[in-house]
């Protein structure tokens, strides 16, 4: 064994490895995992009940505007397939009855989409979600109606303009959900990293660490350990969500697809989450280095918590108007940038702002971690049990 000390990253790894093991096998982590699952389960249950209630009340129908012959063929195909496949209720509408978009707006008739054109070239008009959901079944029906089960006609989709508008509104909902989830996760983790540090100080471990490795490494190790823990949590939650979606299917209330698509949105969410956590976590760790007791933590972390709330409200408010000065400010301000960019990812398909934002945020993470580690090193041994001595002695306090 050489005399030289561990490098910063080696030492940080020693700390992170211990912290991760300790947290992952603790009851606190179980609660950490169960918390969102509990709330998610309640939401899911409520959503499924709601969906079931809505479904049993009045399912949306498929309006059919075809020639009489093709309508008859379609009815025959429907009768054959309905026992085998979950098909929407079809209702023939006279060709000259009305225009498809007007039919969709007719509140008395509850049409989810309108089938026009021909069996060989069907055209489906409706909300993007609905026509996407029914296009396969319509193709199946049309193929059967034409007597050719092997060749499915290509269904032309015609999303309604009002539906596009509603999709945008719904994307705002996706953005809000993303920002809220990001906020809750970072708050939860920042609180955990803070209590972990205070517990360490209470256990008087900190002086052993300070004697052996650079305090910067303790800071970095603790910060990244909690990030690792959070990734494990995300993986578990993601897996559970995936299973729930597979099992629950359409009964689960779904968010509208974000503008950049789900895969990229999820990937960006994870990266923005990591950056948001590193930013706020470094602040909370620095706060923790100055605190000796839980009461100190509450007092000192209050401004940081308020600031984080302000950032959350800023991002939530700003995302309602993409491109506005407020939204641009939220994207640029380091602490709100991850939240605002999640909101943007849900509503805007442009990718280059994310590249810029990631570079910008990584730079700020580096600054926050560096400054935080420096303050941590200065403060952590000046507070807490290790830094205090009885003052009732004659000689100067140590």
């Amino acid at each position: 064994m050489t005399a030289s000390r561990l490098s910063l990253w080696q030492a940080a790894w020693v700390i992170a490895r211990r912290d991760m093991r300790a947290i992952l096998f603790s009851k606190a982590f179980l609660l950490f995992l169960l918390g969102p699952i509990f709330f998610g389960g309640i939401s899911l249950g409520a959503g499924m009940l709601g969906a079931k209630a809505a479904g049993s009340a009045e399912p949306a129908r498929l309006a059919v505007i075809l020639s009489p012959q093709e309508t008859a063929d379609l009815r025959r195909a429907y009768a054959e397939l309905a026992p085998l496949v979950d098909l929407p209720i079809v209702e023939a509408v006279r060709a000259n009855d009305t225009e498809p978009r007007a039919l969709l707006k007719d509140r008395d008739r509850n049409f989810g989409a309108v089938l026009t054109g021909s069996l060989a070239a069907p055209r489906l008009t409706g909300t993007p979600d609905q026509i996407e959901r029914w296009r396969g079944r319509v193709a199946l029906l049309a193929a059967r109606a034409m007597g050719d089960s092997a060749t499915y006609p290509s269904v032309v989709l015609d999303p309604t303009s009002s539906s596009v508008a509603s999709a945008r509104t719904a994307q705002t909902g996706t953005a809000t959900a993303g920002i809220t989830l990001l906020f809750l996760l970072t708050m939860l983790l920042a609180g955990m990293v803070l209590s972990n540090l205070v517990e360490e100080k209470a256990n008087k471990i900190i002086e052993i660490l300070a004697a052996a490795i650079p305090m910067d490494a303790v800071f970095v190790g603790k910060l990244f350990a909690m990030l690792g823990v959070s990734f494990v949590g995300l993986a578990v939650w993601g897996a559970i969500a995936g299973v729930a979606i597979l099992l629950g299917g359409a009964a689960i209330p779904a968010l509208v697809a974000p503008a950049i698509g789900w895969p990229l949105f999820v990937a960006l969410f994870v990266v923005y989450f990591a950056l948001a956590y590193l930013l706020i976590g470094s602040i909370f760790l620095t706060v923790g280095s100055m605190a000796a007791t839980v009461r100190d933590v509450q007092t000192l972390s209050m401004p940081a918590t308020i600031a984080q709330l302000a950032v959350f409200f800023l991002a939530t408010f700003a995302m309602t108007d993409i491109g506005s000065p407020m939204e641009l400010f939220a994207c640029i301000f380091p602490l709100s940038s991850p939240y605002a960019m999640v909101g943007r990812a849900a509503q805007s398909a442009a990718l280059w702002p994310h590249l810029l934002a990631l570079v910008w945020q990584v730079m700020w993470v580096a600054i926050f971690v560096r400054v935080g580690a420096r303050l941590f090193r200065r403060k952590v041994m000046k507070s807490g049990p290790a830094g205090r001595k009885p003052k009732n002695k004659g000689a100067p306090a140590v």
Binding site: M1, T2, A3, S4, R5, L6, S7, Q10, A11, V14, R18, A22, S26, N203, K204, I205, I206, E207, I208, L209, A210, A211, A212, I213, P214, M381, K382, P385, A386, K389, P390, K393, G394, A395, P396, A397, V398
Partner: protein
């Protein structure tokens, strides 16, 4: 990353400190401390609580930086650069309560660069060797205070350091465990390890140390060998006679203290005369003092401490000795 060692001022010193000063706000905790700890020595830092012992040790180890002065450990200005050579047991004992003993020892070794597997293996060996083999798989929270303290000490030693720094290592230990710790310290020194420990219990330092630094009020009024500290006070003569008067009395120093006893005997206490005891003894016999006993008592480290640090510091030390 290894750093280039600087040339130590004296080749054989494990620790050298010159003019260390540390302030906390308005409090001057350490005020110009000089220390020289030879390699392989058992070195004690003696002083009452609040004297500056812990702050001095923390500065020597690089946990905190001095406001003024220099410190070198094995010739290095930055002790962290040679962290693998150092073991440290802080005064505030601390272990992760949920960790198993061998894991705790291995973790402390890992902090000093020892691979975890090797740390676990050595941890088990050390625990077996110190009679704690049955507790290897127990969590720290399940141990008695003495056992937990031993585990922490083993964690301090698991990476086989060349310098072991122990801050108040005897506090909180019962007499049996104090004895075991003394044996352990002697064994370390026998293996060539430099041991430096702070204590406010003088007899531990007196029994173990080659050299001591006496610290009081943030200053070090004495640093050197235990023998030299004791030699600062002349040996005391304790004389017992049958008679209290006579011409022989003029042979006694003027400051001799007379202590008559109820059984008719008389005790006399005075410093050993510069000329030795033989001439005095001759005059006592010739003067028919009726010498019953005569002994020369060398000063203890406690007397030296009183002489050097003052009675107030000595009283503070005495007050802090656990019952």
């Amino acid at each position: 990353m290894a750093t280039q060692a600087q040339t130590p001022l004296i080749e054989t010193l494990a620790i050298e400190a010159k003019g260390l000063v540390k302030r906390f706000d308005d409090t001057l905790a350490v005020d110009g401390v000089d220390l020289s700890v030879p390699e392989g020595a058992i070195y004690g830092i003696l002083g009452p609580n609040g004297a500056g012992k812990t702050t001095t040790l923390r500065m020597l180890l690089g946990i905190i930086d001095p406001d003024e002065g220099v410190r070198r450990v094995f010739g290095h200005d930055r002790p962290h650069d040679i962290a693998r050579l150092i073991g440290y047991l802080p005064e505030e004992r601390g272990l992760y309560p949920a960790m198993k003993c061998d894991e705790a020892i291995a973790f402390m070794g890992a902090l000093r660069g020892l691979p975890l597997d090797e740390g676990r293996r050595r941890g088990r060996e050390l625990m077996e060797a110190h009679g704690l083999g049955h507790a290897v798989d127990r969590q720290i929270r399940q141990l008695s205070k003495g056992m937990a303290q031993t585990v922490q000490l083993l964690g301090t030693l698991v990476h086989r350091p060349r310098l072991v720094v122990l801050d108040e290592p005897f506090s909180g230990l019962d007499a049996i465990n104090q004895g075991k710790l003394e044996v352990m310290i002697r064994e370390l020194a026998a293996d060539g390890v430099t041991v430096i420990f702070s204590t406010h219990v003088i007899h531990h330092a007196e029994r173990l140390c080659d050299d001591v630094a006496i610290i009081a009020g943030g200053k070090v009024p004495y640093a050197g060998s235990v023998d030299a500290a004791r030699d600062r006070i002349p040996a005391q003569v304790r004389l017992e006679t049958r008679r209290a008067e006579g011409a022989w009395c003029t042979a006694l120093p003027d400051d001799a203290r007379h202590d008559p006893k109820k059984d008719g005997s008389h005790f006399w206490y005075f410093p050993l005369p510069a000329g030795g005891i033989e001439a005095l003894l001759k005059r006592l016999i010739e003067g028919e003092a009726g010498v019953l006993s005569l002994s020369i008592e060398r000063a203890g480290l406690h007397d030296a401490f009183v002489e050097i640090a003052g009675a107030a510091a000595a009283k503070a030390m005495k007050d802090e000795v656990p019952a």
